[in-house]
């Protein structure tokens, strides 16, 4: 009974049952395998989070985002007044997270890669691309640059999934993906 001291004082020398030992070995090897799996995915997998990150003054980030938006703007999203930005493939493109919106709307081409810069201007936010289900944390003062390659066309929504105060549930953004050559 586990409520009393061990009967045999030198319990350390008691033998271990074979079945128990076998399970320990299996569990240990499974752990090693799972550890190796994460490393393997860094080598062979296509979904790895970029570690390209810079400290940045939020005002500077906002300024760069505005410049890029000005440069690649092709129109506005419905009657919301939010600009739609269609950068050329391979370009650097900015998305700002702030209380309570992701700005601007991006229009990307399927199968092309883009260098997406994300940062927050105020509190922490969560970049949750739906329904693809890619979820990233966004910090103020840290500029995260992710190379992303849309796989399908359609209208995708960015939902904020880090609680950010009273208007958190109204914080969304949009990424449009079109066939190559249809942009702009």
């Amino acid at each position: 009974m586990a409520l009393r001291p061990p009967e045999v004082r030198v319990w350390w020398n008691e033998p271990i049952a074979r079945g128990e030992l076998l399970w320990i070995v299996i569990a240990f090897l499974w752990g090693l395998f799972m550890f190796g799996m994460m490393i393997y995915w860094h080598i062979e997998g296509e979904q790895n989070l970029s570690t390209e990150v810079y400290r940045i003054d939020p005002e500077l980030f906002a300024q760069r985002a505005e410049e890029t938006t000005e440069k690649y703007k092709i129109g506005e999203e419905g009657d919301t007044g939010i600009p739609i930005v269609a950068p050329p493939p391979g370009a650097d493109v900015y998305m700002v997270a702030r209380l309570w919106e992701f700005w601007p709307v991006l229009q990307l081409e399927k199968g092309q890669s883009y260098r997406l810069h994300i940062s927050s201007l105020d509190w922490q936010h969560g970049f949750s691309l739906q329904p693809v289900n890619i979820n990233l944390q966004v910090h103020p003062g840290l500029e995260h640059i992710i190379t992303i390659t849309p796989r399908e066309t359609g209208v995708f929504t960015v939902v904020c999934n880090e609680y950010c105060g009273a208007g958190h549930h109204t914080m969304t953004g949009r990424i449009r993906v079109v066939e190559p050559g249809q942009g702009g």
Partner: protein, 582 residues
């Protein structure tokens, strides 16, 4: 533990009042007993409050009901997390620490007055936090990520609570020293105490991390510090936030061993293996902070991979070991109790009518299958991209902390009531159903939140229909179904929770007194052999279970392992379908 009216025991020249327990023969320090009672009672009060708030959260997130307005929802969600995850669990754990030291080691509690000071600080701290949250300007969630700011009292309350808990740990360690010094036990400490020591050591690390981050954050909220780095805050805060969940794991596993020991006469298969598994927790659980930083900017991939795996999954190994040795110990004991037929007679004829056993076994199964597997998947660096901050996360930790820890704590309550409070459980028929209601409810909550999370639904979100958003979005219909099912199972769990509160409070107030004549039967149904030999005989002997063939345990562990492996690979398959990124 009926008393010989408080016999006076003098040990080491210091007088303490003891009574002797008619079930176990242990001497119970009355000062320790009062502290155990006080901590357990406050714990149950916080469970009642926090649990009710949890129901409000679930009913708001059920889109068809959408009960609370948004501001109230965020306030209630903040209060829910803090009251159950911190206050219910840590008050109960302090009670467990005093039980595992003073009572199990036949010893007096070190400095009861200091223990009361700690208790007082915890009560004042917890009230202060709740008061701050109720003001409405501290709806910052349990995690209170900077630069979002709560009122200074929010942080101050948490600091006071933590200092109180730290004092509780100190009293626990002091008691261990006294027991050793005064030779109140022979050889090594019991396994349950060993598990409690594990919990207390982790608690010290945890509270230290909490102090390191909460004190500067408090000063920041007062204006004395200009800036708290957001990433550093998360790293250190989760050194408290996640590691404190490992206190629960250690305490809950210790409780599993305690319950099966008392009710079935079960011994660990091997002292060496079970203790090593606990030791692995101490060595590796502290780096779990990384689990919350897997999609964070500013940390290297190597750092994430090493830390999120608890250094090659060595802490997970500890849990996988307990996952086999606990059912193994049950099977070995039950076969000794005469249930030797077939593969599963030992399990079929286990005392399922006894809420302590039923709760313990459900806790074991749900913790392993729901909380455990999902935790490893969620904590795999790249897989986290699909799950971070979705409802998968609360799905996971309701599997561990509610279906696992809370259910285990409820289960042991059915033994604590007769043994410590010396009252027979009232309404035994209802008590019989309580762990099933709560366990199935909590299991459903966990499962359906994970389902919704897999479909991308955000956690901590008031309105998944986005009716007020400029750019709207519809989650798939299946997600709405999941949220509805989550609500239904939350109601089920709440019924189980309310029953638990009523039974506990009713028993403490009106339960029949337990004395030597009815002490053993007060523990509820148990195997005939255990009952005949008198539980005390079982308790008196301890050590390895010896070599039994354990076919049933191998089947259970085999099913678990296959589920684990399959689910693990299914998630990598999902991941490979995401947009490529680097």
């Amino acid at each position: 533990m009926a008393t010989a009216a408080g016999e006076l025991g003098v040990i080491g020249g210091i007088a303490a009042k003891f009574r002797s327990c008619p079930v176990t023969g242990l001497k119970v320090d009355l000062a320790a007993e009062r502290l155990i009672k006080a901590n357990a009672v406050v714990a149950v009060v916080y469970l009642a409050i926090g649990g009710l708030l949890g129901l409000l959260v679930a009913l708001t997130r059920w889109p068809a009901i959408h009960l609370l307005d948004s501001d109230t929802f965020y306030l209630v969600l903040t209060a829910h997390g803090i009251n159950v995850l911190l206050f219910w669990i840590i008050f109960f754990e302090i009670a467990v620490l005093y039980f595992a030291s003073a009572v199990l080691l036949n010893c007096r509690l070190a400095t009861p007055w200091l223990a009361w000071v700690g208790f007082g600080l915890m009560v004042v701290g917890s009230l202060l936090v709740n008061w701050a949250v109720l003001q409405g300007d501290s709806s910052v969630m349990f995690t209170s990520y900077v630069p979002m700011q709560a009122s200074p009292n929010f942080y101050l309350g948490l600091i006071l609570f933590a200092v109180g808990a730290l004092i509780g740990c100190a009293v626990f360690f002091g008691t261990l020293v006294i027991a050793r010094e005064e030779r109140t036990y022979e050889g090594s400490v019991p396994l349950v105490t060993f598990g409690a020591i594990t919990a207390a050591i982790i608690a010290v690390f945890t509270i230290a991390a909490g102090a390191m981050i909460l004190i500067p954050t408090w000063l920041w909220s007062l204006g004395y510090i200009a800036n708290i780095d957001t990433l550093m805050y998360k790293l250190v805060w989760w050194g408290m936030g996640h590691s404190s969940q490992q206190i629960n794991v250690s305490a809950q596993v210790a409780i599993w061993y305690a319950i099966i020991g008392l009710l079935l006469g079960a011994k660990p298969l091997s002292e060496k293996v079970s203790r090593t598994a606990f030791f692995l927790y101490i060595l590796f659980l502290q780096i779990a902070s990384a689990h919350h930083l897997l999609v964070e900017p500013g940390l290297s991939a190597e750092w994430k991979v090493f830390n999120t795996s608890y250094a090659l999954y060595l802490a997970v190994l500890g849990s996988l070991i307990h996952g086999m040795t606990v059912p193994g110990a049950i099977e070995a004991a039950q076969r000794k109790n005469g249930y030797v037929n077939g593969v599963f007679e030992w399990l079929r004829k286990a005392p399922w009518d006894n809420p302590a056993f039923a709760g313990m076994f459900l806790s074991l199964v749900l913790f392993g299958f729901l909380g455990g597997i999902s935790g490893v998947v969620l904590g795999s660096e790249q897989l986290n991209i699909m799950m971070h901050n979705t409802l998968y996360v609360p799905g996971h930790f309701h599997g561990t902390v509610v279906a696992g820890t809370t259910l285990a704590f409820m289960a042991i309550t059915y033994l604590v009531l007769p043994l410590v409070f010396q009252r027979q459980v009232i309404w035994p028929k209802l008590a019989k159903w309580q762990p099933y209601l709560f366990g199935i409810g909590a299991g459903g909550i966990s499962l359906f939140m994970m389902g919704a999370g897999t479909l991308g639904v955000s956690r901590r979100h008031w309105d998944i229909t986005f009716s007020d958003a400029l750019l709207s979005f519809d989650y798939p219909p299946a997600a709405f179904l999941m949220m509805g099912l989550n609500g239904i199972f939350a109601i089920l769990a709440s019924i189980g929770g309310i029953l638990y509160i009523l039974i506990t409070v009713g028993t403490v107030l009106w339960g029949k007194k337990v004395d030597a004549s009815n002490a053993v039967e007060s523990l509820g149904p148990m195997p005939a052999r255990v009952l005949q030999s008198g539980a005390s005989a079982n308790v008196a002997k301890h050590g390895n279970a010896g070599t039994f063939a354990l076919p049933g345990t191998y089947v259970i562990v085999g099913v678990f392992f296959v589920s684990f492996v399959l689910y693990y690979f299914v998630n990598w398959k999902y991941l490979s379908e995401l947009w490529p990124m680097s």
